[in-house]
């Protein structure tokens, strides 16, 4: 069904594209949100990806690869959007003592808070590759198709992003041991 829609949209059928866009919007938005961490920017990224999709569909050779291709456009749009906003935003940290979920153990809240803070400090590229791996559970092979780079490069980038996340987490913990320092 989707292949048929893609084929029609590729030929310029606006109704088919509309159906494709409606079907894809939730998955695209949810992934964009994980990368850019802002509802408005996620919407911008999703819209930019969909417009690029409409523009570039004639160049998509294999309609069965539509989903991976759409993620490629989305990741690119999300990174672009996040880059533009990067210097104006930071991840909000939950102040000490604020409990988001009373059923959570305090340690778990702290860990989640640390992850949120550290994840927000990563570059959009690093966030994107971690989202593909740990949110979409994509294999290296699928990620290679989505990102348009060799599998080896994906493994290397993933490793780099993971190491960076670990470094930021360690730095955050070290900083929190020094009460005078304000993050």
């Amino acid at each position: 069904m989707e292949v048929d829609l893609v084929e029609r949209a590729r030929r310029g059928d606006q109704a088919a594209f509309e159906e494709l866009a409606r079907a894809a919007q939730d998955r695209l938005y949810s992934v964009a949100y994980r990368i850019v961490r802002d509802p408005d920017l996620s919407q911008d990224a999703m819209q930019a990806a969909l417009i690029a999709m409409w523009r570039d569909l004639p160049a998509l050779r294999d309609p069965s690869r539509f989903e991976a291709w759409s993620y490629r456009l989305l990741v690119r749009a999300s990174i672009r959007v996040a880059r533009h906003e990067r210097h104006e935003r930071d991840v909000r940290r939950i102040p000490t003592g604020e409990v988001a979920d009373p059923w959570d153990a305090p340690g778990r809240i702290a860990q989640r808070d640390e992850i949120a803070h550290a994840f927000g400090r990563l570059t959009p590229e690093h966030r994107a590759i971690l989202v593909l791996r740990f949110y979409l559970d994509q294999s290296l092979a699928t990620m290679a198709v989505v990102l348009g780079i060799p599998e080896g490069t994906v493994a290397s980038r993933l490793n780099h992003a993971s190491r960076r996340l670990g470094e930021v987490l360690r730095a955050t913990r070290a900083a929190e041991l020094e009460p005078e320092r304000v993050p």
Binding site: F17, Q43, L57, R76, E125, G166
Partner: protein, 554 residues
């Protein structure tokens, strides 16, 4: 993989699970509206060629006659596609804004001037000189050109004007190895040269007085910091390539060198400063095995970080250019990157890339390309593109240069984009405007005429020149006659982040309160001080379109 992780992947997964799973209601409506407004061209060349190739693969002709017939069919279809493209017409990409002047290109030993608006090209012919590099002065009046005499190969720097006026600035030297680069105040030209068996970094004033700033083996690629206080250049130390950063003014800062010997064997091109002045990016190449890496150097402590690579299999190191938005990087794959790592556009064509320049307004990128290379040579063209947007502006707009680079010569060249803060001539503008009435004003009647005063309308203006886009607030009086025709006059202020355009306008409305016609004039202030904007708009009262001009004020 998880064994290597420095964090708990379950915690990361759990964190990523948080957040919305559904797009907000109506989130794709603007997209669908745009798709409806912009149906794709019926004969999209890319799609057509893809289909032809697929069809060819499926048919797999087995005899010579069938193969010939198939080739004939392909050629006929290609001609038809080209004709249909010509008949349907091509959407015109947007033009670089009026702050951006001519693009100067040094390629194939000549200097070309390109007008990205009209696509006119001018060759500054110098049969006895071979120009290799150039840079516009900050006021856009002069081009500093590094050149060599064809007879003796001795090198000079000349100053050249758009009208062809030329004067020698400094020389001769054995070779000019880097630059020219202008100081921010336009008082100095900085460059590196080899002279009397020494590699030196020099500055020269506009009256030709030179001063040696430093001497280092292999000095090349001078690059001025955004604040104009430091100069970076590359050199060859005893262990390998080095990056040097020297202060240009007396003060506490001392010259500093950073060794790149652990990374590679040589530096490719000049280092590029990030707009924040805190870091530089440069390409480093390695001989065995071949390849290149993109390296970032932090100015504060000399930390070196590989940001792309190492050892890409691309045939050449990236071209780099700096603009207000960050460092732009392009590889031979054709990626556009703002700050290393972010891909902004996909390759548009098979090409060789020699150089890039960011427009003075920071929104456009010019690329020096070799395209459609044949067996012997590559024809040269300059493409302008606005990489941060979609739509027409993101389509490269190519300007052909009548030069060909032989395949057995390295494809090198130089681009510089003229700053044009005050255009000499008026520049045409296209405008689209949507308006909302904020206040109907005070109504009074004089016989059969209904008069409204202090009507306030707020409009969003989108113009082909970004300086004329923004929010326009209009206050006016309108007299409406019994046939619902009207005349109106008032004042308006167009504001954006960089300044204001304030002025007056008058216009009319056709009977039945249908077509609105408005003529307006406005003077700029803020960043637009000294400029005048005149325009004419036609619309239905809510949506308008029109044209205008911007040029020097009264």
């Amino acid at each position: 993989m998880n064994d290597d992780l420095d964090f708990d992947p379950t915690a990361l997964r759990s964190f990523l699970e948080e957040g919305p799973e559904l797009a907000p209601s109506g989130a794709i409506d603007p997209v669908l509206a745009q798709v409806r407004r912009q149906p794709r061209r019926r004969f999209a060349p890319v799609g057509l060629l893809v289909r032809l190739r697929e069809a060819g693969e499926r048919l797999a002709p087995t005899t010579a006659a069938l193969r010939l017939a198939w080739i004939a069919v392909l050629l006929a279809l290609l001609v038809l596609a080209l004709l249909s493209g010509a008949l349907v017409g091509r959407r015109q990409p947007a033009l670089p804004g009026a702050m951006n002047g001519l693009i100067a290109v040094a390629v194939g030993g000549d200097v070309w001037l390109l007008d990205p608006g009209s696509e006119a090209t001018t060759l500054l012919a110098t049969p006895d000189l071979e120009e290799t590099a150039l840079a516009w002065s900050p006021d856009g009046r002069w081009i500093a050109v590094a050149l060599a005499e064809r007879s003796s190969a001795r090198s000079h720097i000349d100053l050249v004007r758009v009208d062809g006026e030329r004067r020698s600035l400094t020389g001769p030297y054995d070779t000019i190895t880097g630059g020219p680069v202008w100081s921010l105040d336009g008082e100095l030209v900085l460059f590196t040269a080899r002279s009397d068996n020494r590699d030196v970094v020099l500055s020269v004033t506009l009256d030709g007085s030179t001063r040696e700033l430093a001497s280092a083996s292999g000095a090349a690629g001078p690059s001025l910091a955004p604040d104009g206080r430091m100069l970076a250049f590359t050199a060859v130390g005893t262990a390998g390539p080095e990056l040097w950063i020297i202060p240009l003014e007396a003060g506490p800062a001392a010259p500093r060198s950073v060794s790149l010997a652990d990374i590679g064997d040589a530096v490719a091109g000049a280092p590029t400063w990030a707009p924040n002045g805190l870091e530089l990016v440069l390409g480093v190449v390695r001989d065995e095995p071949g390849g290149w890496a993109l390296v970032r150097v932090w100015v504060s402590d000399g930390t070196v970080e590989i940001v792309d690579g190492p050892w890409s299999s691309d045939p050449g190191p990236p071209a780099l250019a700096a603009g207000p938005g960050g460092i732009v990087l392009a590889t031979s794959r054709g990626d556009y990157v703002v700050e290393p790592g972010e891909t902004l556009a996909q390759p548009t064509q098979s090409r060789a890339l020699a150089a890039m320049a960011v427009s003075p307004d920071g929104r456009w990128l010019a690329e020096l390309l070799g395209v459609a290379c044949g067996a012997d040579a590559c024809p040269v063209e300059v493409a302008t593109i606005r990489p941060d947007t979609g739509g027409a502006a993101a389509e490269p707009r190519a300007i052909g240069v009548n030069a060909r680079i032989p395949n057995d010569e390295p494809f090198t060249g130089f681009l510089s984009w003229q700053p044009l803060l005050y255009p000499v001539d008026e520049i045409a503008i296209e405008i689209e405007e949507t308006c909302t009435t904020i206040s109907d004003g005070r109504e009074s009647r004089a016989g059969t005429i209904s008069r409204h005063e202090d009507v306030v309308v707020s409009c969003i203006d989108r113009a082909s020149d970004p300086r004329l886009s923004g929010t326009r607030t209009i206050t006016f009086a309108i007299e409406i006659r019994p046939d619902q025709s009207a005349t109106l006059a008032g004042s308006s202020v167009l504001r954006n982040d960089d300044g204001e355009w304030a002025g007056t306008f008058s216009g009319s409305v056709a009977p039945g309160y249908t077509t609105h016609e408005v003529d307006a004039t406005a003077q700029g202030s803020g960043a637009f001080a000294g400029l005048r904007y005149r325009f004419h708009l036609t619309g239905d009262g809510d949506a308008f379109s029109g044209t205008g001009t911007v040029g020097p004020g009264d």
